[in-house]
């Protein structure tokens, strides 16, 4: 029997980026908030200690800060004809764990999705006709650029993002991204300094007529004090960003931007090492009463709340909805149902160049240090005569040349022995790469549901992921790889190779922790699980916040848009929902 705890105004599940933003905004609005977090408390000095965080084996390879499959795994398959089996170790993507969530070990590339993403179906239909989208479940997100711009701005100023505006209120700015949607003001801090490889990349693609610009980065170019009064330090380009917590207070995370303020508030409480099992609904299924959780000793508690904010990693948000019977599960056969619908990923390829006599110093890096061009991203280029929609950014980002994971050799080099060693030694300083990060568009067959066989440590079904790269996205990626060939050739390197994405998503090699969809936002309850304010259509006192709300994935990292959606939802709750609890949009 669960022990019943006193009711709170809001119960937050998961204290990562979105949980921290919601908690900060709602405690400001006067609510009494408790956040329940499965993992441990984590902070810079104690857990990302600068004396030993630069440990590739511990954090980069053994993945100490990440969610461990023993805690929660998922099953996967490429299509419904296969039997899904558990990812016994996480490989292709690495969800976060503990306070700060994946925001602890993210790279910091901080993008805004475009107006053309938010209204993707209407804009593409207008330009190319509805037939162009046959087979794709692309849909508008139910929110417009003008509505969301302020929320993007809030997240960027919270973090102190370093970048160069490309479109200020409609005026294109030299040196910025000319394809971005108009922003109301520039970035809070100037771009990072560039190391050799991204500078060379920018020069090369500029000569080809493209438009490179500094990647907007949450690794800060300079010290910064955010609107909450929290100070961040200047990035030292140490090259231990991705998979690591920042020991230098230079990477924006919940720890470095919000928690120092939030944790001091009397109307906020964090409960760590406590795992929510489910959200409990009233018998009619239309109202969330409470959440049930276990502490680390396995003692069960029931925490009632006037509202429940689901702020876990996007995939876990979807699983929690399915376990709690919130919203109709998606059925890929009929195409009906919404929870688990429009699961998308990221469609990427890479180029690698080898030179003689260079010193690229690849260890000088940061998660978002580099240059990007969007000339072939989204709908920035004409698709009239192409057999796909979507696109990819092409970027040269130097996250750090940590040698267990990063020791490039030319194709054909043996993987061990004397020849391997000689080539490894020779090419470490002589190689650079660039990559494409492409859009991932929804199709009927890609979805999330509960696995019929495998369960977690508490006996609950694991999430089952059925995913393969759709033909549209493969065609897109190959088109962009062709452009990458042209770019690679222009470097006049000694040799080079461009990878090509193949069908058959493989769960083993790391690709991207940009899993999106499954509880998407929209204007139609028949095709979306949450409304434009990320409020459940079915259980209006539940809000589901995260990349789970993305109707599709764009060709860029999701966190900037996740942060914006968190502010957007928080504002709707604070200004609309609290005054008049209930559905904010009539179903």
């Amino acid at each position: 029997m669960a022990r019943l705890l006193p009711k709170r105004d809001a119960v937050i599940i998961g204290l990562g980026w979105t949980g921290a933003i919601l908690a900060q905004q709602l405690t400001e609005a006067g609510l009494n908030v408790v956040a329940i977090e499965r993992g441990p408390w984590r902070d810079t000095a104690s857990d990302f200690n600068i004396a030993y965080i630069q440990d590739e084996l511990r954090y980069g390879i053994r993945k100490e800060l990440f969610l461990q499959p023993a805690v929660e795994a998922m099953t996967m398959r490429n299509n419904a004809a296969q039997t899904a089996l558990p990812m016994r170790d996480y490989g292709s993507f690495l969800p976060g764990h503990g306070v700060g969530g994946a925001g602890v070990h993210w790279n910091g590339a901080s993008w805004r999705f475009w107006d053309g993403d938010l209204q993707i179906r209407s804009q593409l239909t207008r330009r190319y006709g509805a037939k162009k989208l046959t087979g794709l479940q692309l849909q508008d997100w139910g929110v417009t650029w003008n509505e969301l711009e302020h929320s993007f701005d809030q997240f960027e100023y919270l973090c102190g993002i370093s970048g160069k505006a490309g479109n200020l209120k409609g005026q294109i700015q030299a040196g910025g991204n000319p394809f971005e949607s108009p922003r109301s003001r520039g970035y809070p801090t100037p771009p990072m300094k560039m190391s050799y490889a991204p500078s060379l990349f920018a020069r090369t693609v500029t000569e080809l007529g493209f438009h490179p610009f500094p990647t907007p980065s949450a690794n800060l170019s300079t010290a910064y004090v955010n609107p909450l009064g929290v100070a961040l330090g200047q990035c030292t380009y140490c090259g231990f960003c991705e998979r690591f917590g920042c020991g230098n207070y230079s990477k924006a995370s919940a720890q470095t931007t919000i928690l120092p303020v939030l944790m001091r508030k009397p109307n906020f409480e964090a409960r760590t090492e406590c795992e929510v099992l489910k959200i409990n609904l009233t018998p009619d299924g239309k109202h969330a009463r409470s959440v049930t959780y276990l502490d680390a000793q396995g003692v069960e508690y029931e925490q009632p709340g006037d509202m429940v904010l689901l702020c876990a990693y996007g995939l876990m948000n979807v699983r929690m909805m399915l376990l709690s019977r919130i919203g109709q599960p998606y059925d890929p056969v009929s195409g009906k149902g919404v929870v688990g619908r429009n699961y998308c990923y990221q469609t990427s390829a890479a180029a690698r160049l080898f030179f003689d006599g260079k010193n690229f110093n690849p260890f000088i890096g940061a998660g978002a240090l580099g240059q990007t061009m969007d000339d072939f991203n989204g709908d920035a280029f004409d698709h009239s005569h192409l057999d796909f929609v979507g696109g990819a950014q092409i970027n040269c980002i130097i996250t750090g040349g940590r040698p267990i994971g990063s020791r490039p050799t030319p194709p054909g080099t043996p993987r061990w022995g004397a020849k391997w060693k000689a080539e490894t030694a020779k090419n470490y300083q002589n190689s650079m790469g660039f990559a494409s990060q492409g859009s991932s568009y929804p199709v009927r067959e890609n979805y999330l549901d509960l696995d019929p066989t495998y369960t977690d440590r508490h006996g609950r079904p694991l999430l089952r992921m059925t995913f393969d790269f759709p033909d549209n996205d493969i065609a897109m990626s190959h088109y962009v790889s062709d452009r990458m060939e042209t770019i690679a050739k222009s470097f006049n390197a000694k040799s080079w190779a461009v990878s090509r994405l193949k069908k058959g998503w493989d769960a083993v090699p790391y690709q991207s922790t940009h899993n999106t969809g499954g509880a998407v936002m929209g204007a139609d309850p028949g095709t979306s699980a949450v409304n434009k304010y990320l409020q459940s259509w079915d259980v209006p006192n539940v809000f589901v916040i995260g990349a789970s709300a993305f109707g599709h994935n764009g060709g860029r990292n999701p966190t900037g848009t996740v942060g914006a959606l968190a502010y957007w939802a928080a504002e709707a709750i604070a200004t609309k929902y609290i005054k008049s609890p209930g559905a904010l949009v009539p179903a």
Binding site: W41, I61, D89, G91, Y196, N361, F363, K421
Partner: protein, 248 residues
């Protein structure tokens, strides 16, 4: 580590609970392992979990025969030459031994629940053996193979014969007697991956002695501030590596 902070927050909580009797039920909760944090940013001096350097002497997991085989294997995967000492002298076998004796070897973080089915390559390793168990079975099968083919242990083969065996495992030409769900290829990949981890990881884990691989590459190791060099494009970084425990 967190003990001080935890007891501090427990005291704080009990104090606040005393004023609000209805919360009394929660007191038990906080004597358990969950942790309540409110009104403060938790802080305790000298908190942290620094890694513990391995003791380089002896074997913690391998039997003497296994250790000899693994030392011979890592010495062929990473042969001694003018660039670095061989894998054995770099400590790669010690590294693997300590990893197998620890949480990695025991698969503590992995999903190990049944049922175990033979999967597709895209689904990754699906066997029921821990990494330690895979080494134990794989090394035994390797010894069986070399005794069948050469009537010798792996360590007794000439370097050229050792390379031929390793090549056979790598290319699939040699198939060891393992078990369903654990292929020869998976065994070789595990050994190769762990050997490279040992060669390139911080020396505190037992491999990369003298930071040999880092010196070979020009990787500065645990340094964390390159602000003085980011603008120096195409200029070699002038400083030697340092390790987490200050080896320089």
């Amino acid at each position: 580590m967190h003990t001080d902070a935890r007891s501090l927050s427990r005291r704080r909580l009990l104090a606040s609970v005393a004023a609000v009797p209805i919360l009394a039920a929660t007191a038990d909760f906080f004597s358990a392992s969950g942790r309540s944090i409110s009104g403060q940013v938790p802080w305790s001096p000298f908190a942290g979990a620094p890694p513990r350097p391995v003791n380089p002497l002896g074997w913690y997991f391998f039997t003497p025969g296994e250790a000899a085989a693994v030392e011979a294997i890592v010495d062929r995967l990473i042969p001694a030459d003018h660039l670095t000492p061989g894998g054995k002298d770099c400590g790669c076998a010690v590294f693997i031994d300590r990893q197998l004796a620890g949480s990695f070897g025991q698969a503590n973080s992995l999903y190990t629940k049944a049922p175990f089915a033979v999967g597709l390559p895209i689904q990754g390793y699906q066997g029921d053996l821990t990494p330690a168990g895979r080494y134990r079975l794989g090394l035994r099968a390797l010894a069986d193979y070399t005794h069948g083919a050469y009537k010798k242990d792996f360590v007794q083969l000439s370097p050229a014969e050792q390379d031929a065996v390793l090549n056979g495992l790598d290319t699939g030409k040699i198939v060891l007697k393992l078990k369903p769900g654990f292929s020869t290829r998976e065994f070789f990949e595990l050994v190769l991956q762990n050997t490279m981890e040992g060669f390139f990881a911080d020396p505190l884990y037992g491999g990369n002695r003298g930071m040999a691989s880092w010196k070979m590459l020009g990787f500065p190791g645990a340094r964390y501030d390159y602000r003085d060099h980011i603008d120096k494009h195409n200029v070699r970084y002038p400083r030697d590596p340092v390790s987490i425990y200050g080896e320089a």
